[in-house]
């Protein structure tokens, strides 16, 4: 899927946007987030999925947002797994949502 500058994400910010910005990368692309965003929020504001389901072609975008369904695991570029809904975005983090098979 081609990446555009104004990618339509799944989530929508409602308010509370007056917060310091946080720079990170997603699949190598620079992304500007806000302090207090979870990794899930960062990823789903810019895209409609987070990860590929291991046993099928479908993609997943999280489900419960309270850290119980375990369907929102993404990785840092160094391979460290992160549970997107319960992890706050940190400055400089390099997030990966696509594996080799999605390249």
């Amino acid at each position: 899927m081609p990446q555009t500058a104004h990618m339509q994400g799944q989530f929508r910010r409602i308010n509370a946007t007056d917060r310091p910005k946080v720079r990170c990368t997603v699949d190598g692309d620079p992304v500007e987030a806000l302090t207090g965003d979870t990794v899930m929020t960062v990823l789903l504001l810019r895209g409609r999925s987070l990860r590929r389901f291991e046993f099928g072609a479908e993609r997943r975008a999280g489900f419960c947002l309270i850290g119980v369904c375990q369907d929102c695991w993404v990785h840092r570029a160094d391979g460290t797994p992160l549970r997107a809904c319960t992890t706050l975005v940190e400055p400089g983090v390099a997030l990966v949502t696509k594996g080799a098979e999605d390249a």
Binding site: M1, Q8, Q10, F11, R12, R13, I14, N15, A16, T17, D18, R19, P20, L34, T35, G36, D37, T38, T41, L45, R48, S49, L50, F53, F55, G56, E58, R59, R60, A61, G62, F63, C64, L65, I66, G67, V68, C69, Q70, D71, W73, T80, P81, R83, C85, T86, L88
Partner: protein
């Protein structure tokens, strides 16, 4: 000084801690979240500043009270935020903290582990854009985000109306509120619902507000299936109304849930026996009238031991602490327990009317899943595979079905798929739900990074 540990800093855990501190006992409070409040009164990340009333609505008063109560005592107690209990053996807990693994020995333990949404799979439920009602609420309250521009709210229970209202009140274009409970059932439960007092009135308010704002609110619904748009995310929901007519509603997100279910894995690891609650259609850890369990020194509080709601959770948290104090020889607790039990009795009646009459769990929807429908979203196990295991492979209970099909073997340990898988097996075999048994908690109760063990060696 005995080591007293409370797991969970939601309303139940907070009131338990408060009660103990008042009596001069300083507990350790362990919570997975970075701040107190649990789910319903979840506190915002430090950098997000919002109007308290806007975030918590009618619950603002209770939320503030719970937050203040904990803030007042947190310096006095041993508080472990961002700490996940992953194992429980004997009187020792295994905990993963931000700085690595740790162990905590306890003499008395209060489990206030809360609950999660109860889910029924329908075609398309794993599509991007489909979330639980609780998840939709967390996105809105905790992240100031909507799960989409045009969500459908689907399911049943008071949370359905609350979250739909919260979204609509925040200016989101709610495409519809689809309740599987029938209008008749809700009307019929009216007398029982009266006992809920303020809660009942709030529910009526949300309903009236939604209707007044032109948002379709339909009862007696059954989802048929959600399908994806070109981006691979949800884009339309097909559903049947009470008369059997089919409808299609365009959406870009769905928030669904059918009541709540207790998070009871730690109770399981502690060896607490479980009993099947036919009204709630779930297994809950057993407790006596005061919150004691069959395991000496372990007490239960809040929704982690059967769904009673947030207000009841505060009371049962206090009650568990009083039972503990009583067992330590403190005077005065017996009387307070009596008072708490009277108040909890009212909540019990309300809850029964809510869960068993007004917003009954649509077991038929769960049991009638098409063979191709994915039930276990971690492992991709379908309803057909479950039925095959029951009929061809001799799986007469859920743990055997797990061994044969992998249902519940995924990262969530069956939290999401457990209820529906049990309904399918029971229906398929023609046996009562209780006969199917329950999936057990196994340690680690949530995924535990291999790397965490390496830290231990380093330190």
């Amino acid at each position: 000084m005995p080591s007293i540990v409370i797991i969970g800093a939601g309303p139940a855990g907070v009131r338990a801690a408060e009660t103990l501190v008042r009596a001069g006992i300083l507990p350790t409070v362990i919570d997975e979240a970075p701040a107190s409040g649990g789910q319903i009164y979840r506190r915002l990340p430090p950098s997000i500043v919002r109007d308290f009333k806007k975030v918590y609505g009618f619950e603002a008063g209770r939320a503030r009270s719970v937050h203040r109560a904990f803030d007042d005592l947190r310096e006095q107690i041993d508080y472990w935020p961002d700490s996940a209990v992953w194992s429980a053996h004997g009187r020792t807990l295994g905990v993963i903290t931000k700085s690595g693994p740790s162990e905590l020995a306890w003499d008395r333990l209060i489990l206030a582990t809360g609950a999660m949404d109860r889910v029924i799979p329908f075609k398309g439920w794993t599509l991007p854009g489909v979330y639980t009602l609780g998840g939709a609420q967390v996105a809105l309250k905790y992240q100031a985000c909507a799960i989409g521009d045009r969500p459908i709210f689907l399911g049943t229970g008071p949370l359905l109306y609350l979250v739909a209202y919260q979204y609509a009140a925040a200016g989101v274009k709610v495409a519809g509120v689809l309740d599987t409970a029938s209008a008749g059932a809700k009307r019929g439960a009216i007398f029982g619902l009266f006992s809920g007092g303020g809660m009942f009135l709030k529910g009526l308010y949300y309903l009236a507000w939604l209707r007044a704002h032109g948002i379709p609110v339909i009862s007696g619904v059954r989802p048929v299936g959600a399908c994806a748009g070109p981006e691979g995310a949800v884009h339309e929901l097909e559903w049947r109304d009470a008369r059997g007519s089919h409808h299609r509603t365009v959406c870009d997100s769905i928030a669904m849930g059918f009541g709540l279910k207790s998070e009871a894995q730690i109770a399981d690891l502690c060896g607490i026996p479980f009993a099947f609650d036919p009204g709630q259609r779930q297994w809950v850890p057993e407790q006596d009238s005061d919150g004691r369990t069959a395991i000496n020194g372990v007490y239960l509080a809040g929704d982690g031991a059967g769904i009673k709601g947030a207000a009841a959770a505060e009371l049962s948290g206090e009650r568990a602490a009083h039972a503990l104090l009583h067992d330590l020889g403190h005077a005065g607790s017996a009387g307070r327990i009596k008072t708490l039990n009277r108040r909890l009795g009212r909540f019990e009646r309300f809850r029964r009317a809510l869960d068993e009459k007004a917003f009954k769990f649509p077991a038929d929807l769960a049991a009638s899943a098409d063979d191709e429908l994915m039930i276990c979203r971690c492992e991709g196990v379908t309803a057909g595979e479950l039925r095959h295991a029951a009929h061809e492979l001799g799986a007469a209970e859920i743990n055997r079905a797990k061994a044969f099909t992998r249902v519940g073997m995924g990262r969530c340990q069956g939290r999401v798929c457990g209820p529906a898988a049990a309904e399918i097996l029971a229906n398929s075999l023609g046996v009562p739900l209780a006969a199917i048994g329950r999936l057990r908690g196994q340690m680690p109760i949530k995924p535990l990074p291999m790397a965490a063990f390496l830290d231990e060696a380093a330190s």
